[in-house]
């Protein structure tokens, strides 16, 4: 089945810093989503981005489908950005999740 790898596994930032999270996947996909899991365990949709670039406030994402990777950019990070960021790609009738990047933003 499709494999999804995320890097880095852990990231510690000072408030105000920028960061880039990466997601590599092993096969062509029709759907790629980025999620933020907050401290209460909820999965918050950030982007649906099978290809191209999207921006939403301080967050933006780029997927290069032909090279099988996606990047999530966080600018001017805030403590509320802390949590786990998951990339998930569609394989068949399901999303296959990566292991996530744990982000800690320090004030």
């Amino acid at each position: 089945g499709i494999q999804v790898e995320q890097s880095p596994p852990d990231l510690i930032l000072q408030e105000g810093a920028n960061s880039t999270l990466r997601c590599n996947f092993s096969d062509s996909v029709n759907n790629l989503q980025w999620f933020h899991q907050n401290p209460w365990g909820q999965l918050i949709n950030l982007f649906y981005i099978p290809s191209g670039t999207k921006q939403n406030g301080r967050l933006s994402a780029t997927t290069v489908a032909t090279e099988r990777y996606s990047l999530l950019y966080i600018s001017s990070s805030q403590t509320t950005d802390s949590g786990v960021y998951f990339c998930a790609v569609e394989g068949g009738n399901k999303l296959v999740f990566g292991a996530g990047t744990i982000l800690r933003v320090k004030s």
Partner: protein, 117 residues
């Protein structure tokens, strides 16, 4: 904005008991899913459901699990005889999926945290 809702938010049960987790997908969505996340691990697919039948299931989704859409709004996951290793967060999701090869965003509910003692 429409949301996927799940009840209960927390469920504690004894090993061997049956549990039913409930979900109300977004009203115009056609595809429904269950995923689970064991504490500290990645989110894993359990089952997808379309047109009142299972369209795909994982190896985790064995005979102890079943899903049902008992009416026009609810989507349930039943675990017949819970085991300690069933302790996890269970997420319901739904999507429109406009057919053919096209795909659409899966929207996730807030989850039910199941603890099996």
């Amino acid at each position: 904005e429409p949301e996927v809702t799940q009840t209960p938010s927390h469920q504690v049960t004894q090993m061997g008991q049956e549990v039913i987790l409930r979900c109300v997908p977004i009203s115009n969505h056609l595809y429904f899913y269950w995923y689970r996340q064991i504490l500290g691990q990645k989110v894993e697919f359990l089952v997808s459901f379309y047109n009142n039948e299972i369209s795909e299931k994982s190896e985790i989704f064995d005979d102890q699990f079943s899903v049902e859409r008992p009416d026009g709004s609810n989507f349930t996951l039943k675990i017949r005889s819970t085991k300690l290793e069933d302790s996890a967060m269970y997420f319901c999701a739904s999507s429109v999926r406009r057919g053919g090869l096209s795909t659409d965003t899966q929207y996730f509910g807030p989850g039910t945290r199941l603890t099996v003692l």
